[in-house]
Amino acid sequence: MIKVEQLSYHYGDRSVLDQFSYRFSPSNFYGIIGPNGAGKSTLLQLLAGVRAPLSGNVLLDDVPLRQIPRKQLARRIAVLQQGGLPALGFTVREVVEMGRFPYQGWLGGDLDDRKGIVEEALYLTGLTKLTDRSLEQLSGGERQRVALAKVFVQQPDILLLDEPTTYLDIGYQQMIMEFVQQWQQNQQLLVIAVLHDLNAAALYCDELLALSNGRLLAAGSAVEVLTSPNVAELYDANTLIITHPEQAVPQLLLQPNKDNHYRYFAGDHKQNT
């Protein structure tokens, strides 16, 4: 569905993606993991078409993204960003309705008239009672639910998530991940999520891609990717990997270092970026 060919990107002389190629197939939940600066967010922006590749190509059903009009693209691909929406004076309903923009004509009429979709999204995200509140009156978690409802009414068949649960408490983290999982399974979406939370990645994703220095270090199921050597290579972190007692997927525990806690700052620390 989305094919990435020989994708490279750099900021100044710092390379963040180096000849990256991959084929994302439909109705799959992919997780992209890797340390800060590994090129995950850049990759997501390239996949969303808001950033142009410096070399290589991103193909959606074999058509380069650049050749697809922005509005048409927004009917296929939706993006849920980290940190949610800014605190604005717009009401919850107004913001969720903005998700219909790709389907609206110049005068604002919905071309693909699905009035029910906004109500459905508000209901499914539990925002029905908050519809007339303005965003500035909501908490960060509630605002992220509004953002989720907004991408839902966009009715994409590809959903990109950029660390969607950052800054949220575990209740909201679980709610967001399970909402996306349910939606993915019901509508056979292709979901590509950049995740920092490796445990969540192991629980919810079908397939993980580990990025390091703009290259693919490992790809496959959580069991294949989340191994001690890989995690050490990616993050230079000391971890203990156990198996989730009920879900049979790997889960990480931090393993405190016994001595020399200053090693991180003393130059002894392996460079990740």
């Binding site: 969303a48 808001v50 922005r70 509005k71 048409q72 693209l73 927004a74 009917r75 691909i77 939706a78 993006v79 960003q81 929406l85 800014p86 605190a87 604005l88 004076g89 717009f90 107004e94 913001v95 903005m98 998700g99 923009f101 790709p102 609206q104 110049w106 005068l107 604002g108 303005s134 500035e136 009156q137 966009q154």
Partner: protein, 342 residues
């Protein structure tokens, strides 16, 4: 709809009052009788009123009120557009340096005594051209690899503005004899204008308003952030460019006929935000109407308070506007206990 109706009603009341009041000593009945008789299907007012009285009403007062409406509408539209695109509550029609560019052109013409080179239109023409050149310079400064960073744009505008402002000050200081003329032009006025000025502004407002209304949903999406808007299908760079050009044209046109009238473009959109909320689908048309109302009111005060002498219009717009704005802000903060946001 209800807001639109109320605003139109208020506009008509304002025009009615502004036309009725004046320093000539004519009664309200006389004024409206002259206007009635001057309509095309009547015989004209010359049998009942003197030529002077007719000229005051139809040539001076009516054109002045309509010019005020158009200048106010242009500046408020440009203000709401700039605030939307730049996502900066302090943005106004002059933020990107249009007015400074126009002022340099106008001040130069006045200083050199070239006012009549192209007849009546010398100063407006030069002011318009120098204003447009300035904004193009600012946009080129802020462009980088085909995209405009908002912060860079505002910074470039502010820098160009103060750079050109110092030229204006220099020219003011060089021209002992004509100091007042330059300063008065800069302070802004819609006195001593003619129907030609009204005709000049009409196409700018008539073309810009519907385009801006079509872009109002895009301005709403831009409020979520440029990247978020792009994810929702907005062609961000193109939309920003179109809006900036339209707002600049409106500003340059208004400034070229009336000088630099401050505060209207800044405060009218904010007053409306406090009343109707952040939705640009309402703010754009209401700004046009609100700017017109505000400018007519300010100009009526400007010509009546010390009549027959005119106060500088820019002074009045701020003197009336600041207290109203403060009142609404305090009232809103008391009600919601929240912070004002764009």
């Amino acid at each position: 709809m209800i807001y639109g109706g109320a605003a139109m009603l208020l506009l008509f009341v304002t025009i009615f009052v502004a036309l009725s009041l004046g320093s000539s000593g004519m009664s309200m009945v006389d004024v409206w009788h002259i206007l009635w008789l001057s309509l095309p299907f009547n015989d004209g007012a010359s049998t009942m009123y003197s030529a002077g009285e007719i000229a005051i009403v139809t040539q001076i007062r009516l054109s002045r009120v309509l010019l005020g409406a158009l200048v106010g509408a242009s500046l408020a539209l440009a203000g709401v557009g700039f605030q939307g695109v730049l996502r900066n509550p302090l943005a106004d029609p002059y933020t990107l340096g249009v007015a400074s560019g126009s002022s340099v052109g106008a001040a130069f013409i006045i200083l050199m005594g070239y006012q009549m080179l192209l007849g009546l239109w010398t100063i407006p023409f030069v002011a318009f051209v120098t204003g447009m050149i300035t904004i193009i310079g600012v946009i080129m400064l802020a462009r980088h690899k085909g995209s405009m960073q908002i912060q860079t744009l505002v910074l470039a505008g502010v820098i160009i503005q103060s750079f050109l402002g110092s030229f204006v000050s220099l020219m003011v200081s060089l021209s002992d004899g004509v100091v007042n003329e330059i300063l008065f032009w800069i302070m802004g006025s819609i006195a001593m204008k003619s129907w030609e000025h009204v005709y000049l502004l009409i196409p700018f407002v008539v073309v810009s308003l519907p385009i801006m209304m079509m872009y109002s949903r895009i301005l709403n999406l831009l409020a979520l952030g440029e990247r978020e808007a792009a994810y929702l299908g907005v062609q961000v760079e193109r939309s920003k460019f179109v809006m900036l050009m339209i707002c600049t044209l409106l500003t340059a046109a208004a400034v070229s006929v009336s000088g630099v009238i401050g505060f209207v473009g800044l405060v009218v959109p904010h007053l409306l935000r406090l009343m109707v909320g952040p939705d640009y689908r309402l703010l754009v048309p209401l700004s046009a109407i609100g700017g017109a109302i505000y400018m007519i009111m300010a100009d009526t005060v400007a010509r009546l308070v010390l009549s027959p002498k005119d106060l500088p219009l820019g002074v009045v717009t701020a003197l009336i506007g600041a207290p109203i704005f403060t009142y609404l802000l305090v009232k809103r903060n008391k009600k919601e206990g929240g912070v004002q946001s764009l």
